[in-house]
């Protein structure tokens, strides 16, 4: 049997999901009450899935490592969520959202999945409004939209700069309702340590209570992984400190294939690294590129003077500035996709034009937008003969309304006022398109083990469009998984309660305990962060924005040696039977150190440049990415064989029947 059967339903694209749903096996309410489902993760994906499964009648156990489900990392999303509502009447449609997503992903995602995502997107907004999510509205009382990520329609719904928190609070409310009814058992401050597979089916997990350290067994008829992305491989990223790959990696070790691990999005506009103790990087939303102009000095001496502090950005005349995105990409200018903008920033900084102490920053300048909008405001308000100072004052007010909270965040962190002086920004790791391989039903290669949200690989190909991750999380959790999982469970209704007193649970538990013992008992000399920072440097240097064969080979070796050094030389203080954050961090890093090697291997293997993955050997003469559709129009799904460096590759061919495959161009 081909283990990579994507199970894409037949029939025309637009009827696949409806037909498929009609054919899925159903389970009677009485039988649902006898079935247990474990959901790991309470972000948009896991939280919405748990709530919906409970509402359908299943018994759900839900897990998160934070002290409350409301703190899952989805909470940090700023910009918005896409949906093909066409409320603005600008020609949006399910097909157009589908098309933009496939094109944005550089033709490396599955047509059928993406079409379904676009199809259910509009229902997500209905759902959220019914739950009381306070989206931004127009004066007429209807929902407002903005445009995002360089697409040509306005389809992004938002709640000021905190769309993620508002959507997550909606999910949290739905979760609470079911917890209150006793249909969900919630396990806060619990970390999933392993998946338990019995007779080829996922039957439960081993967890660690992060307060007491107790190792616990939980059984179920199916397990859903919704644990988010693995960008913290890079140490510094826009992810939360606790975001980790462990749940997905443990699933991989138990047989779930990992797809396209090297597809990692580097966001162009984050606040740059400030010093050696930096622990995370803060995103400045993509929406800022609508008004900010990106530049560096034209002359190396000016760049040097700025780095040394002898010149200020305002001292550089307009003619001496290089607005390099506008110069290189006149058609899209500052609104090129994320991967293009990130690469260009790195190129300029590597060439010596960087503008902060470390040389790793470019300017994002609002001066012209402040002037332009100030003038507009003066005109609209009927003011005549206004001086420049007044114009700028008015302009700043406009900026404040649009981006006030982001400007405040920047000011707090950098101690510079972006209304007066340009922001300094630099690219950083932000989102992982790769993840657990799933079929159309969102099931991994392990029967009964499902993956949703950022943890799976399914919809974004080699590059994700802005405002589409929130959409995918909620689509998976509210509208897809709860139905496809029923089809799987329908042949499990006679099984009865799964016991945890089996050898498989026994073995998984003792393996977890063994690893913990090893970590705690290690008499090393460096804390976990020492190794994590080392890993992050390797990832950024060799596996980040640009990659090449030699560097990736070197990275694989280096990662291996850090991994060995980690196991020999890490110190984990305290005991296993208490609240011990260092122990949790050590376990997560141990998994990152394995995943990192597979990431590098995957990047090495993909001999093409596509989406966020740029291989320097595969570029056009003028430095643009060169995709290779003949040899690489496939999903690379890796099977664990005992050593991450020896993973076995399986390919799922990608077929495009409804869309013409083109080379992207933003010139």
């Amino acid at each position: 049997m081909n283990r990579l059967d994507a199970k894409i339903p037949d029939g025309p694209l637009s009827e696949k999901w409806t037909n498929h749903k009609n054919r899925l096996n159903l389970i009677s309410p009485a039988n649902k009450r006898t079935l247990d489902v474990i959901v790991v993760g309470t972000g948009l994906a896991g939280g919405s899935a748990a709530a919906t499964l409970a509402e359908l009648g299943y018994n759900v156990k839900s897990f998160c490592f934070q002290d409350s489900p409301r703190r899952a990392h989805s909470v940090a999303a700023q910009g918005g969520i896409n949906a093909a509502k066409n409320y603005q009447g600008d020609g949006d449609s399910v097909y157009r959202l589908f098309y933009d997503t496939i094109k944005g992903g550089d033709y490396r995602s599955r047509e059928a999945n993406v079409y379904r995502l676009a199809e259910v997107s509009s229902n997500i907004i209905d759902q959220c409004v019914a739950q009381g999510v306070p989206f931004a509205r127009e004066y007429g009382g209807l929902l407002d939209n903005r445009s995002f990520g360089g697409v040509q329609v306005s389809r992004t719904f938002y709640a000021k700069g905190q769309t993620g928190q508002q959507l997550l609070l909606g999910v949290y409310a739905a979760l609470n309702r079911q917890i209150g009814r006793g249909k969900i058992q919630m396990f806060n401050r619990h970390e999933m340590m392993d998946v338990v597979v019995i007779d080829g089916r996922a039957r439960g997990i081993i967890s660690r209570n992060l307060i007491t350290g107790a190792i616990e067994r939980h059984s179920a008829h199916a397990v859903v992984i919704a644990s988010g992305g693995y960008g913290n491989l890079f140490y510094l990223s826009t992810y939360a400190m606790g975001s980790n790959a462990s749940a997905a990696w443990k699933a991989h070790r138990k047989g779930a294939f990992l797809a396209n691990p090297c597809f990692n999005q580097i966001h162009p506009t984050a606040i740059p690294v400030g010093g050696p103790n930096q622990s995370k990087l803060t995103l400045m939303s993509e929406s800022l590129r609508n008004d900010g102009r990106i530049w560096v000095p034209k002359n190396l001496e000016d760049a040097k003077a700025i780095r040394e502090g002898s010149k200020k950005p305002g001292d550089i005349e307009d003619g001496d500035r290089d607005y390099y995105l506008e110069r290189q990409y006149p058609a899209f200018g500052n609104l090129v996709p994320r991967d293009v903008a990130s690469r260009a920033a790195k190129e300029r900084c590597d060439a010596g034009y960087g503008v902060n102490v470390t040389g790793q920053a470019v300017f994002l300048d609002f001066a012209s937008a402040i002037y332009r909008s100030g003038k507009e405001k003066a005109n609209v308000s009927g003011l005549k003969n206004v001086d420049d100072a007044t114009i700028r004052k008015l302009g700043k007010e406009v900026m404040k309304q649009k981006y006030g909270n982001l400007f405040q965040m920047y000011h707090k962190i950098v101690d510079q006022n972006p209304y007066e002086t340009p922001m300094k920004i630099y690219p950083t790791t932000h989102y992982t398109m790769g993840g657990l391989w799933v079929d159309y039903n969102l099931m991994t290669t392990v029967p009964g083990l499902f993956a949703i949200g950022e943890a799976n690989f399914s919809d974004h190909g080699a590059n994700r469009l802005g405002a589409s991750a929130l959409m995918q999380g909620l689509a998976d959790g509210y509208f897809i998984l709860p139905y496809t999982i029923g089809d799987y469970l329908s042949d499990d209704i006679g099984t009865g309660k799964i016991t945890t007193a089996s050898t498989e649970f026994e073995e998984a538990e003792s393996e977890v305990k063994e690893t913990i013992k090893k970590l705690i008992g290690n008499e090393g000399s460096h804390p976990v962060d020492y190794f994590h920072k080392k890993l992050g440097k390797i990832m950024w240097q060799y596996c980040g924005i640009n990659r090449n064969k030699e560097g990736l080979e070197r990275a694989m070796k280096k990662i291996r040696s850090v991994r060995e050094e980690f196991w020999e030389n890490v110190i984990v203080p305290g005991t296993a039977e208490e609240f011990n954050e260092e122990l949790a961090k050590a376990g997560r890093l141990a998994d990152f150190l394995e995943l990192a090697e597979l990431y590098a291997k995957d990047a090495l293997f993909r001999e093409e440049s596509c989406g966020a993955h740029l291989r320097q050997e595969f570029q056009t003469a003028d430095g643009e990415a060169m995709r290779n559709d003949v040899d690489f129009a496939h999903v690379a799904a890796w099977e664990y064989t005992g050593d991450p460096g020896d993973a076995r590759l399986h390919k799922e061919k990608l077929v495009y029947e409804n869309i013409e495959v083109k080379q992207r161009s933003y010139k």
Binding site: E55, V129, N277, D529
Partner: protein
């Protein structure tokens, strides 16, 4: 810069805690407060000592996981930010900084600076939602227009990050600001109106059962709230409570 830290150390909920002194000799003013604690912990671990436990996750002021009572104020000296957004440039060379957990009967200490805020979850479970199914096919989102000012007010209430600073700031350890923010958000929206009465009754009942104190209108909560949630929410909640006709 040099700092003396006086940090609350408590092994577990059952043992007594105390303030312990630590000296840091080379604090970078551009580090965040939590990065300063990371640095301290790194040193402690290398010395073979136990690091200081504290809660944190997003480190950008939105998840509500960080806490800390810094020099007598929840989330430290600045207004409108959470502890993770505080930077060391706010302190001076030679300063002594007191770092304690959020204290309240309903927030028992788990370890050092980490407290148990699950009471907040239980209050929400008692009614902090609108009872719509997630698997149904609700009506189109634009069927019910909502006046922009109303939607914006609901949003402002909804920006609460559930951190618990309002409780820690209050001499009575009252949770009124937190609870009223949720009640306001839902009461303001037409979708939430239907269940308004039972919601306020159930959430207030749960709040009382969790052991939070009464509100005596000191307003400390509003001052310390990182999202600047306004006292108007409490007034609105009181009105909702009266409307619900619950006997106290």
């Amino acid at each position: 810069m040099k700092l003396t830290l006086k940090i609350w150390r408590q092994k577990n909920p059952d043992q007594k805690g105390k303030l312990v002194d630590y000296n840091l000799n080379d604090v970078n003013p551009d580090d965040s407060f939590l990065e300063m604690l990371d640095t301290l912990n790194y040193e402690l671990i290398v010395k073979g000592e136990n690091p200081v436990a504290f809660d944190h996750d997003c480190r950008e002021g939105i998840c509500g996981m960080c806490s800390l009572f810094i020099n007598g104020r929840p989330h430290g000296p600045d207004r409108g930010i959470a502890t993770c957004q505080l930077h060391m440039r706010r302190f001076k060379d030679g300063d002594t900084v007191y770092i304690e957990p959020f204290r309240a009967r309903a927030f028992p200490v788990i370890k050092d600076l980490v407290v148990d805020r699950s009471a907040f979850d239980r209050i929400q479970q008692a009614g902090g939602y609108i009872s719509v199914n997630t698997s149904g096919n609700p009506q189109d989102a634009n069927t019910v227009p909502i006046e922009k000012t109303v939607a914006d007010a609901a949003f402002d209430s909804a920006t609460c990050i559930g951190c618990g600073a309002c409780v820690a700031a209050c001499k009575n350890a009252s949770a009124m600001l937190f609870v009223s923010a949720k009640i306001s958000q839902l009461a303001l929206l037409p979708q939430g109106e239907v269940e308004a009465k039972s919601r306020v009754a159930n959430m207030v009942k749960q709040m009382d059962e969790e052991g939070f104190g009464n509100c005596t209108n000191t307003g400390a909560c509003e001052i310390e709230c990182p999202k600047e949630i306004s006292l108007e929410n409490i007034a609105r909640m009181n009105r909702e409570y009266l409307k619900a006709g619950v006997k106290g």
